[in-house]
């Protein structure tokens, strides 16, 4: 038998971190977008133990301020893409600088400095990734997906999809379908 599942990374991570911090008896507060505020000084050995435990889960502690900001930008973008309806008519640059309290120029600079890619590219990538998951996990047609992700047309979505991935949405769907078929046959 085979099933397909979807993850909510934020929830999984929040849950894991909560369990581990409670186990280590560290008092903390969870802020938005993966920020944790320790409410007391944490001894070095406890901190190290926390780091090791998190590493097992693929969770990494980020210390650099710029890296933190980039992470915030990313999370904001992901949130923006996932909930496209709420942010309708607002330009992403305006949205980001309002939400994060920095000028867009500054955000863009920091972002490309840390990630070697631009915010625009990241937004496109996220939108395409979201389109991919909608294509795979829902019965929505390309037209509906394009509408949901606020593309002006299917052609626009297809063009951007092709630009980003080098393949067309239809080819993508076909490949994923064939992969599933292949895996089903194997098991």
């Amino acid at each position: 038998m085979k099933i397909f599942i979807k993850f909510d990374f934020t929830r999984i991570c929040t849950k894991v971190i909560d369990e581990k911090l409670v186990a280590l008896n560290i008092k903390y507060r969870m802020l938005n977008f993966g920020e944790i505020e320790f409410l007391e000084d944490v001894p070095a050995d406890k901190m190290e133990a926390f780091d090791t435990i998190l590493e097992d889960y693929g969770i990494e502690k980020i210390e650099n301020q710029k890296v933190i900001l980039v992470q915030k930008i990313k999370d904001t973008i992901i949130d923006m893409v996932m909930n496209a309806d709420d942010t309708m008519n607002v330009k992403s640059s305006v949205y980001l600088s309002e939400k994060l309290g920095h000028s867009y120029g500054y955000l863009a600079n920091v972002f490309s400095e840390v990630t070697y890619t631009s915010i625009e590219n990241f937004i496109i990538l996220q939108r395409i990734e979201h389109a991919k998951s909608l294509m795979i996990n829902t019965e929505l047609s390309l037209t509906e997906i394009a509408f949901r992700l606020q593309y002006s047309s299917v052609a626009h979505l297809s063009t951007q999809f092709k630009n980003t991935t080098g393949i067309t949405p239809t080819t993508f769907q076909r490949i994923i379908a064939k992969r599933r078929e292949l895996n089903t046959n194997k098991s």
Partner: protein
């Protein structure tokens, strides 16, 4: 803590291509470490060592003596230990159907070997960046398909 670089491996029987590959990464000045294998058998022997360090991205030439890129790809995909390796097919042009087949078999990237060194650099940089995005931004690795 995780190393802060991308570990890249190439298996290609063509000496010149291996040269271009390393030179490109040298010039790119990205945080990468590159290892080379001259054919599929060598590659699989190295990977199958239980203590082997697994690459983040594995570049596979398709036409290799003894063990072809496709054979390597299938072997890797059937071993759960290698599930986190992004596979990039690195080959001379093939037909659309063949390209699609490699994706279906589990490849994440298909690269047609370019005929310009600067384009090669751009492509390799794109692949590493994109892979990095998948690694760091919680994207679904199953949806990682890229053709360059």
């Amino acid at each position: 803590m995780r190393e802060n670089y991308t570990y890249v491996v190439l298996a290609d029987d063509d000496e010149d291509d291996r040269l271009f590959f390393t030179e490109a990464f040298e010039e790119l000045k990205m945080q990468t470490k590159v290892d080379l294998y001259k054919d599929g058998v060598d590659l699989m022997n190295a990977l199958n060592q239980s203590d082997s360090k697994l690459p983040n991205i594995l570049f596979l030439d398709l036409n290799m003596p003894m063990k072809s890129g496709i054979e390597c790809l299938k072997e890797i995909k059937s071993n759960p230990r290698f599930k986190d390796i992004a596979i990039a097919i690195y080959s001379t042009s093939a037909s659309e159907e063949d390209i699609e087949d490699t994706f279906v078999s589990g490849a994440n990237v298909y690269i047609k070997k370019p005929n310009d060194f600067n384009i090669l650099k751009k492509i390799l940089s794109d692949v590493v960046t994109m892979n990095w995005q998948y690694q760091t931004s919680g994207l679904n690795r199953d949806n990682f398909l890229l053709r360059l």
